[in-house]
């Protein structure tokens, strides 16, 4: 059996059509877009096309609202730091507890630098409370940053509504849409979102290319200063091949948007139901009714995620886990902790994330391969005896749900 890749929220395979579109930019179209000769102008035209393709996928009003960057992380950092630098009278940033480290670590650093970072909590389904959100907005807030879709659970935040609320108070709004772009319809011109980050490698473009959407009129300060590339908003000679690839990938994503929401969603649901119905003591995490069509995150209680992944991997199935061990930290995923998932379950969370290339046979295979793995590990677990959670354990084993 060929390996089954169900880790598309980590990264995706580059679409062969994207590779094909990129190749000439390593060979005959090697020019620098800034140059005054034909070598340069060919590349310049290709960048323009790519910008229009990105614009179309996210429904930006103007092509010039797209700034190419080196990755999602750079887009996130550019957005937040720009908002602070452009509005020195404002010193507060609002984020959510479940943001990607690209935002969370930046927030920790900003606090050390003397800024104020407020974190919006989530409930046990990973949802925010809009009233709490409203109460946090005031005239010292420079920017709100909330992810459109969560990378671990796929949970969608009501970012359009949140942006309206921020706009009404004159506060900038940024969304990390790295996981959302290409999976759900986005039409920025109809929203009040000021800035949006996206990353190529989550939508079948290569790694190391991203973009920042910057609404026309939104005050801005560049992260990298230098040449006049990207209208002086992001200096550094353009990564033309990757930009062309991102453009092509956006065009393809737009074509496949309905596939994501029919075929991919169908397979995801089949996988989730197949596993939940066969295995006891497990549940899907996050806001399952409002989430990405490709993501299912299941907590298998009383066993540990890395061990599950190793056994799945042995059978050629690739997924990921929110357990502490997979990250080398001592705590399980901050997303699971923010939702208050007990440690015995948080360590056993497995994220399956699909793409348009997954097939029904693959999903069937995973549905039949997983239950024996869970059973095998539960047999080893001191929290489990016979067919259920063990009760007669020594005091050393009463789990601490700190």
């Amino acid at each position: 059996m060929k390996p089954i890749y169900l880790d598309n929220n980590a990264t995706t395979r580059v679409d062969p059509a994207v590779v094909e579109a990129m190749l000439p930019f390593f060979t005959e179209h090697f020019g620098n877009a800034s140059s005054m000769h034909a070598f340069g102008s060919q590349v310049g035209r290709a960048l323009k096309t790519a910008r229009a393709q990105v614009q179309a996928l996210i429904g930006a009003e103007h092509e010039s609202e797209i700034i190419f960057t080196s990755c999602g992380t750079e887009s996130d950092a550019t957005a937040i730091l720009s908002a602070l630098k452009a509005q020195p009278e404002r010193n507060t940033v609002i984020i959510t507890a479940v943001e990607h480290p690209a935002i969370l670590s930046l927030g920790e650093w900003l606090e050390k630098e003397g800024y104020i970072v407020h974190t919006l909590k989530v409930d046990k389904r990973g949802r925010i409370d809009l009233d709490e959100y409203k109460s946090m907005l005031h005239e010292r807030v420079a920017v709100v940053s909330a992810m459109w879709a969560n990378n671990e659970t796929g949970t969608l935040f009501p970012v359009e509504e949140m942006a309206e609320i921020a706009a009404a108070k004159g506060i900038m709004f940024h969304t990390d849409a790295v996981q959302a772009v290409g999976k759900i319809p986005i039409d920025l011109k109809r929203t009040k979102i000021d800035m949006l980050s996206l990353s190529g490698h989550k939508l079948h473009a290569p790694k190391g290319i991203g973009a920042l959407y910057l609404r026309r009129g939104c005050r801005f300060r560049p992260l990298l200063r230098g040449g006049h590339q990207e209208r002086g908003r992001r200096a550094g000679t353009e990564n033309s091949a990757a930009i062309v690839g991102l453009g092509k990938a956006c065009e393809l994503a737009l074509e496949h948007l309905s596939t994501e929401n029919t075929q991919v969603r169908g397979l995801r649901d089949q996988l989730e139901q197949g596993l939940l119905s066969q295995i006891t003591h497990c549940f899907a995490t996050g806001d399952t009714r409002h989430r990405l069509p490709n993501t299912s995150n299941i907590a298998f209680e009383y066993i540990e995620g890395e061990a599950i992944l190793l056994l799945l991997n042995k059978l050629g199935i690739a997924a990921s886990s929110g357990s502490a061990c997979t990250s080398g930290s001592l705590e399980p995923s901050h997303v699971m902790r923010a939702m208050g998932i007990p440690y015995t379950a948080a360590h056993g969370t497995i994220r399956f994330s699909l793409s348009r290339w997954n097939t029904a046979e693959e999903i069937q295979h995973v549905i039949s391969a997983t239950p024996p793995i869970i059973e095998q590990l539960r047999k080893l677990s001191p929290y489990w005896s016979n067919n259920g959670p063990s009760e007669s354990l020594g005091t050393g084993f009463s789990p601490t749900y700190a």
């Binding site: 540990e304 190793l310 502490a324 001592l330 015995t344 360590h347 001191p382 700190a402």
Partner: protein, 297 residues
Amino acid sequence: MWEYSDKVREHFYNPRNSGPLDAANGIGDVGSIQCGDALRLMLKVDPQSEVILDAHFQTFGCGSAIASSSALTEIIKGMTLDEALNVSNQDIADYLDGLPPEKMHCSVMGREALQAAVANYRGEEWSDDHEEGALICKCFAIDAVMIEEVIRANNLTTVQDVTFYTKAGGGCAACHEGIEDILAKVLTEHASDGEAPPPRPAGNTAEAPAPAAKMTLVQKIHKIEEVLESVRPMLQRDHGDVALADVQGKKIYVHLTGACAGCMMEAATLGGIQQKMIEALGELVQVLPASHMPVDV
């Protein structure tokens, strides 16, 4: 994905001695669900000889936690309790052909379970005094709690000090920011206690303590040997060793062997030994590798 040795994989895929042991007369339950590990070790001990006749485990944990548990049971079967208590974390890791530094705490858990099970068999209380913090230095597997304790105990003030005492930060240097944060935290606490440590210039060799009564050369060499003896166990844990080569005035030449020799930690190790020498001898000395000895002496 972690780089696990074949041995780790093999013990994970085919764990030995897993599951309950009905005839167990010593049981150790350790671990912390918070960091994703918990282990129950069950021993069947012969009351006459105190030989471990059988050992089983149940583990909630990652691949290497399961493999370490399996390895531990294999290692201790047939040993007496006292022999088993001498099994170190490094022995467990060695048995498995090594563990990634992030995963060394998996073998720590095995050793603790063993202590707990033996205590349980002997009717004693065993309490877990091991506190584990976030992993700071990934090159040498040093966690935040350890760094903080060493900083407090020795009034350390610079990253370089921390490297001398714990090795943390002596490798790729990526954790220097983390170490600085811990230093800043401890120093602020000190300051608010009103007993700030005297500031010490960073990077210099420490000031010599008050001059002691002058030693004879023989006394001095005895002291030097004592200091070297005291650091050898630490080096041997990492498969290294140290021996005195020569003393020439204020220069002490040593042979570093095994894992310590030539590695990027050599300078840090020598620095640590030098600190101890200065304290023990009461005078400023320099500790150098034997390779630096002048040839024409």
